[in-house]
């Protein structure tokens, strides 16, 4: 174990960078950029260091730090990592330096961009690390500010509309969330006499009536469903994705959308197990609708970026499906997908962003025959497309397969319908690919420049990681699974729910099959 507060260091380093950026002169953007590179690299280093010391096979919270923050109200500053949050932090830490490299062409208001960029990283890290409900809520809301400015300040044509829409949707979601958090804490106080927002204390407390639990679950649900986004709550997402700057979309798709799933896993499941079991069919239904709806709407999009945005709705459907299958395998699949989706969708958004920088358009109809003009670009895009579809060999396949398998064990109809979505994904992605890249290039597309070395450095790591995890998922699964088991055990302990036995068998064979590889290979 590490005896210094590594998690605080991870969360605070970008914020320190943000403050330093404020003191750089406006006319020296390279200083602000340098500070941003240094701090995101330092954060990534700290995160990998933390990953190195993370104990595999341990489902509890690790590196826990706890200090009193507002003792008058029982609010603590508690940070910790377990299998649910570990890889979200790693992915975030890796995406940020890549995003910085992708933003190299940015020429205006660089200082402000870097400030919000670093603040965003702190907020995201805080969300995944917090083990105190109010602290979590603080970061959850704080996230809005830099994201709002990034979308509104550096987005596309309708950026103001998108920025405000994003802010209001998220804020509307968190309104009920806050009420639910406060109600939970005061009910706990009424029962035990202790006012606390400490997640672990509330998790162990078993004093909620079933109906109360359902109400509180719904309070949390709205916020997480908007973030996820689940289908009736998704309307903000395509607009915001389309108008956001490239890096904004990468972070939105890669990390922000996972926050909903993370919230369900971390908070809804452990705090309201009864309600989670009761309402699982509702969530399964919504996620299956999301999978089909996302796929169908994606296939009729004219805008390439919007198409990928809708594909994210479908992908998030698989993640929620895996989570609410309430099986260890399903949870494994969902957690794995939460690592994989940022890599594949991130690569696609980056490539579409580069396409936009070259052609000033994202309309599929205006792009044609790029294969002949820019073969390297096309190769990368094809690999990203295949990874996004979930072709075996890429990480997307493992996650979706496990999520479907977990669902199939308990709720067959949902799994069967959801599997259709996998085929749809191939249809809309390959169709779009064919229209954009094949045929002969017309006049405006003939001058399409190929990828530069910098751009290859930006995209390649994501695709390499996706391929690596697709071929060898063990490093992730080993660290994720103990926590998934803890979550399911918590259900069995607190509710009548029992995980089907067959599940256990499959997990064992899988473990036998996996080669005993050296741990920590993902550091490379």
């Amino acid at each position: 174990m590490i005896d210094w507060p590594v998690l605080t260091a991870i969360a605070v380093t970008p914020a320190v960078g943000a403050v330093l950026v404020l003191f750089t002169p406006e006319r020296r953007p390279e200083l602000a950029r340098g500070i941003a590179y240094a701090t995101t690299a330092a954060t990534a280093g700290l995160t990998l260091f933390m990953l190195w010391h993370f104990q595999t096979g341990n489902g509890d919270f690790q590196f826990v730090e706890s200090y009193s923050w507002i003792p008058e109200l029982g609010i603590n500053y508690t940070l910790g990592v377990d299998g649910i949050s570990l890889f979200m932090i790693v992915v975030t830490a890796l995406l940020f330096p890549i995003g910085l490299l992708a933003a190299q062409p940015l020429r205006y208001r660089v200082k402000a961009y870097m400030f919000h960029f670093l603040l965003l990283e702190t907020a995201i890290m805080g969300i995944f690390l917090s083990l105190d409900l109010i602290l979590f809520f603080v970061f959850w809301e704080l996230l809005l500010v830099p994201m709002y400015f990034l979308i509104g300040g550096w987005g596309h044509e309708r950026r103001r509309y998108a920025a405000v829409k994003f802010f209001l949707y998220t804020m509307a979601g968190s309104a009920m969330f806050l009420i639910a958090i406060l109600s939970l804490a005061f009910l706990h106080q009424a029962d035990t006499g202790i006012l606390t927002f400490d997640f672990q204390t509330l998790m162990d407390w078993n004093g909620l009536a079933r109906t109360t639990e359902t109400w509180l679950f719904l309070g949390f649900f709205i916020s997480f469903a908007i973030k996820s986004p689940l289908v009736p709550f998704h309307t903000w997402m395509p607009d915001v994705h389309t108008e956001a700057p490239t890096f904004g979309s990468v972070i939105l798709a890669g990390v922000l959308l996972k926050m909903g799933a993370y919230g369900f896993l971390r908070f809804s499941f452990t705090l309201f197990p009864e309600a989670s079991v009761d309402l699982a069919p509702l969530l399964l239904t919504l996620s299956v609708i999301g999978i089909l709806y996302g796929a169908i709407v994606a296939s009729v999009q004219k805008d390439l970026k919007r198409l990928i945005a809708y594909s994210s709705v479908a992908h998030m459907g698989f993640i929620i499906l895996g989570i609410f299958s309430l099986t260890t395998i399903g949870l494994d699949g969902a957690l794995f997908n939460m690592v994989s989706h940022p890599l594949t969708t991130g690569a696609l958004f980056l490539l579409v962003g580069m396409m936009y920088e070259r052609r000033r358009t994202r309309q599929i109809s205006e792009l044609k025959g790029i294969w002949n003009v820019a073969p390297i670009f096309t190769a990368f895009f094809l690999v990203a497309t295949l990874a996004g579809i979930g072709v075996p060999g890429f990480s997307g396949f493992i996650g979706e397969f496990l999520a479907l398998l977990g669902t199939f064990l308990v709720e067959r109809p949902y799994a069967i319908i959801a599997a259709v979505g996998v085929i749809f994904a191939a249809v809309y992605m390959l169709w779009a690919f064919r229209r954009v890249f094949t045929n002969d290039a017309d006049e405006p597309n003939r001058a399409f420049p190929d990828l530069s070395v910098r751009e290859i450095v930006v995209v390649a790591p994501l695709l390499v990681m996706s391929l690596f995890l697709g071929l060898y998922p063990k490093p992730v699964l080993d660290r994720v699974e103990p926590t998934a088991e803890v979550v399911i055990d918590h259900f069995e302990e607190r509710t009548d729910y029992r995980e089907p036995d067959v599940n256990v068998e499959i997990v064992r064979t899988e473990e036998k099959d996996a080669a005993p590889g050296a741990e920590g290979e993902e550091h490379e």
């Binding site: 507002i70 802010f167 209001l168 804020m171």
Partner: protein, 509 residues
Amino acid sequence: MSELTTPGIEWLALLPILAVAGAGIVIVLGRALAKRAPGVYAASLFTAFVGVVGALVFTTYQWVQVRGDGAYLTFGRMVALDGFAVYLSIVILIATLLALMVSAGFVKRAQLEGPEYLALLLFSSAGLLLMATANDLIVVFIALEVLSIPLYVLAALDPRRAESQEAGLKYFLLGAFSSAIFLYGLALVFGAVGSTNLTTITEFFSNRVLLDNGVLLAGIGLLIVGLGFKSAAVPFHMWAPDVYEGAPSPVTGFMAAAVKAGAFAAFLRVIVGAFSLQRNDWRGIVWVLAVLSLAVGSIAALTQSNVKRMLAYSSISHAGYVLIGVYTATAEGVAAALFYLLAYTFMVTGAFTVITLVSGPEDRLHSIDDYKGLARREPLLAGVLALMLLAQAGVPLTAGFVAKLMVFEAAIDGEDYGIAIVGVIAAVIAAFFYLRVVVTMYMEGDEPDDEASDSAPAGTLLTRTRTRIDVGAGLALAICVVAVLAIGILPNEFFEFARDATLYFRLPT
């Protein structure tokens, strides 16, 4: 010959009021004697600062004394010196100090009558301080008048703008009207209880039950109406948007921060404190006031195109949050209301300081269109205003978030879920119009069309000359920024302060 016995007097209890009012009198005398001699304004300014800083020193001493020896009543039980009074005195004095700092440069730029302006501000502040310590309905009434009359004049002080005259007249008419209603309520309460002293009223109810309490309830209702006017709670808010818009900007800031604190001082002490046993009768009224203030304040603000008017409606909705604290009628709720008033003082003064600075020498540029591209022209001022508005919207790590959190906590602790839900929904609606200003400042006006087409180096886009931030306003901004962030990040000390203040405040057990 029988001697006239006068009540024992603890002068210490009145020292802050005397210091502030005394400074005001010195300024008026100085102006009368020195006429238009050069340096009169500078000397007046100095006197004003000495008075307010002196008063702050005295209140700090009072705080130590109250915490050591406990609260006490003096002047024939008409003045109460308890934690509550000292806490609100400190809030009022901070607001006054900040208003003076902002006004120092503003008065000069706007060429108003300098010394008079300062004296009026100080007299109003003295009235507010008296309000915080008043323990008798008569004293509350006197304080109400002392604080209001200078404000009527201050609102109308700008001779170049007709709106200012209109604001003064409107404020005067409606203010006089509300004072009359308050006075009538006072009379009815006196009729029912036989005393105007708040302590006597509490004692009266502690061992008696009124079988026929119609007069009393009418009296309480009228008192609430009178105080509702001063705190600009809906439906008694009609004056606020016009007066806020018309009054000189620093005066508007003072009204929003200090006057609100003073009005709620009376609200809490009279309604929550003295009539605590009748709380089942008045809580329904306060519930309606709170919900209406939250709803009307945040919805009406959406449609405003004048930033000062918008902040007027926003201040109405903030009054709604404080009223949630009043409504709970618990120690938690009172502490939350007190905390809110402290946090709001910094947020709103900071916002109005920026508004004053960017409004031009004539104090006219308040349309939302005037804020287009402010971030380019004035990155510092736009940044501060954005922080203040986000804080008012309740973004975490700012004072506004903690303040709202405390209010909701108090409501949910009392199992008043309905009003808490109204509060959070109002916060979401309110976020929209605060964002509108931020969007205008940061995302509109002289913007590049696209990422690559903009290669112009920073600096060429500055079209207008920069606003000069004078020392006083700069200092006020710095204090507000530091306070908003400090309260937001480390709220515990401030909250303990607010909670200690309620410890020495009588509440139902």
